[in-house]
């Protein structure tokens, strides 16, 4: 029996009035892949992310995550099902500490019962811990052991990404590079199978970019992830992506390995200029 892909976008079209932001988009991601999604500004890359994560419902086509058709499901369902993302402009919870930012990502394990039913219906393992957490939280019955476990798991994650020393710092007080890392850690804390990174290297100097590249490869291996990555920094894309999809004006204009894409005249024409990167 054919094993299903981690993610399948089937003829996805996203139309806003007369503007076709994404048109006839077909893509498959297999387990463990590190794939890059590139293209000029305005090509529709973040729109693809927004369709996958449920912020937009596609005008046409379907989004299939493993065995589950997630087209049109709300974002908080999709996070519970196992897709996490970061944002182009960092959207940390600025007034909360590093630890609290990561703890928030575990709240769905207390509440998202409907999403969990979808998981169970398709034969996946339940992610919900017990029930009645609202009342348990108010009266603090059976609550402290759960919180202790949550904090323990959050700290283990922070240790793996080397942010544990800063756990009590306000997120807004971190240097830029660490804020980006925290955003990724926060996404990881939702326990995803698929991680969508939206321009993680934006605003980084060459040294930070090197570290980020190693970091992404490491978390892919340590956490058993499939990663789809939007980037403009060609060093990152060519350096760590195993496969690349190129978009322009909402459509895919090229696919393939970094070498294939780098030499494709269509891509060079639309985006890479004279190929003097890397």
């Amino acid at each position: 029996m054919e094993k299903e892909s981690v993610l399948k976008l089937d003829n996805v079209t996203m139309q806003f009035g007369g503007l076709i932001a994404v048109g006839d988009f077909n893509m498959k991601l297999e387990s463990g892949e590190l794939v890059g999604l590139i293209g000029p500004n305005g090509a529709g890359k973040t729109t693809v992310f927004n369709v996958i994560t449920g912020i937009y419902t596609p005008t046409k086509g379907r989004v299939i995550f493993g065995k589950i058709d997630i087209t049109g499901l709300p974002p908080h369902y999709i996070t519970h099902l196992g897709i996490a993302r970061t944002f182009q402009n960092i959207r940390l919870f600025s007034d909360m500490t590093v630890l609290e930012n990561v703890l928030v990502s575990q709240h769905h394990k207390l509440e998202e019962r409907h999403a969990d039913k979808i998981l169970q219906k398709h034969g996946y393992k339940s992610k919900i811990i017990g029930k009645g957490w609202f009342w348990k939280s108010v009266f603090k019955i059976g609550y402290f052991s759960m919180e202790k476990q949550m904090v323990k798991e959050a700290r283990e994650l922070l240790k793996k990404v080397e942010l544990l020393d800063l756990e009590n710092e306000k997120a807004s007080s971190l240097p830029y590079g660490m804020q980006r890392k925290l955003e990724i850690a926060r996404a990881l804390a939702t326990e995803p199978k698929l991680l969508l990174l939206d321009e993680p290297a934006a605003g980084m100097n060459p040294h930070e970019t090197e570290e980020l590249m190693e970091f992404i490869k490491k978390i892919r291996d340590d956490f058993n992830l499939t990663i789809l990555l939007i980037e403009h920094d060609m060093k990152v894309v060519m350096g760590i992506c195993e496969r690349i999809v190129v978009m322009d004006y909402g459509r895919i204009i090229s696919k393939g390995t970094p070498d294939e894409v780098r030499n494709d005249p269509k891509v060079i024409e639309a985006y890479l200029g004279d190929g003097s990167y890397v």
């Binding site: 908080h76 919870f93 609290e100 928030v104 990502s105 769905h108 939280s137 108010v138 603090k140 996404a187």
Partner: protein, 354 residues
């Protein structure tokens, strides 16, 4: 310098001692203060409940709600209609008789107060469900409209509320113990929620609803939850307020927009998003409003004789508030709470300087 945390068991112990201490202070006040000051203390308790419940909705969850007076009004009228005796109701409702079953029920104060809270919570669910999908200014206008609609309904549903005549001669059930007792319950419940995963989820919604959704939080459901819990306690405060005033009517200053604005002043003054701040703000507001009565008597300033102008104290209060907003926007507590850890570290820092 590192922020030192006290052991949890010690903090629980200190809190219990504090509650006993407060109970003792209230007991002494009731014995030795004159009626005027006892009434002010009781009012601070009532204002405290209004303030804490509103800061939970506005300051912690970030829901821009301007309709809090609507919930207080619903609570006040529900409780009053339940505690008034049947004869009293027959006498008061002389324009149009009170509808059944209200005209033949009389309940005790505790049950009436709890039912008042539940009624307010039900209304919060009904108007929250469609409204909370709105954001910012639009939500503010909608909730403001709700508050006003409740007042107009009260004014016109004469066979239920006695309309403009209001309800008079209510038993003064609210004493210092009921007010501060319910304040304790409010702080324990809301504080407990805020200090849990739900509190983090609500703060995340305040910071960035889109990111919160992306982290798996059902934003609408959690906002509704905060709205309903806040409204429940606002309803409770309405019942306490009605039985402190001993009369309620549908005027804007009693259960209308002016009440909402007063509570807003309390929570912004105390620090938006802080529970302890809300209580400080409520106390400051109550005390200032009373103390400023001296400006309504004739006084001399810089050699100029100022005559007694009624309403002068509202003018001065508003001016003070505007100055506070211009120069000290975070209020007394800002977003942080007064905690045992905070007090401990404050003294540690002082000791270091010596």
């Amino acid at each position: 310098m590192q922020y030192r945390k006290l052991p949890t068991k010690l903090k629980v112990f200190l809190t219990i001692i504090f509650i006993i201490f407060m109970a003792f202070v209230l007991f002494l006040s009731q014995k030795f203060l004159d009626t005027y000051w006892i009434r002010i203390l009781t009012l601070i308790g009532i204002y405290g409940i209004m303030a804490v419940s509103l800061t939970f909705i506005n300051g912690i969850t970030g829901i821009f709600s301007l309709g809090h007076s609507g919930f207080v009004a619903i609570g006040a009228y529900t409780a009053a209609l339940l505690t008034m005796s049947i004869e009293q109701k027959q006498m008061s409702f002389f324009l149009k008789p009170l509808i059944w079953p209200l005209n033949s029920i009389q309940l005790d104060f505790l049950s009436a107060t709890i039912i008042a809270g539940i009624m307010a919570a039900i209304f919060a669910y009904l108007i929250g469900y469609p409204s909370l999908r709105l954001t910012g200014d639009y939500l503010a206008i909608t909730t403001l409209g709700f508050g006003e609609i409740v007042r107009i309904l009260i004014l016109n549903m004469i066979s239920v509320t006695n309309g403009p005549l209001g309800l008079k001669g209510l038993e003064e059930y609210t004493n210092i113990w009921w007010a501060w007792g319910w304040l304790l319950v409010t702080v324990l419940v809301i504080g407990s929620l805020v200090n849990s995963s739900y509190g983090r989820a609500l703060k995340a919604i305040r910071e960035d609803p889109i990111a919160a959704k992306a982290m798996g939080i059902n934003v609408t459901k959690h906002q509704l939850m905060a709205f309903v819990v806040g409204a429940f306690f606002a309803g409770i405060s309405g019942s306490l307020y009605a039985h402190w005033l001993t009369t309620i009517d549908p005027r804007p200053q009693t259960v209308g927009i002016l009440l909402t604005f007063n509570v807003l002043i309390m929570i912004v003054l105390g620090g938006l998003g802080s529970i302890t701040g809300a209580i400080f703000g409520a106390a400051a507001f109550a005390i200032l409003s009373e103390w400023l009565r001296i400006v309504e008597t004739p006084f001399k300033i810089f050699g100029i004789q100022v005559p007694a102008i009624s309403g002068m104290r509202l003018l001065v209060l508003s001016t003070i508030f505007i100055l506070v907003m211009l120069t000290w926007r975070r209020g007394i507590m800002g977003r942080s709470e007064l905690t045992w850890d905070g007090i401990y570290n404050f003294f540690l820092r002082l000791k270091r300087k010596h």
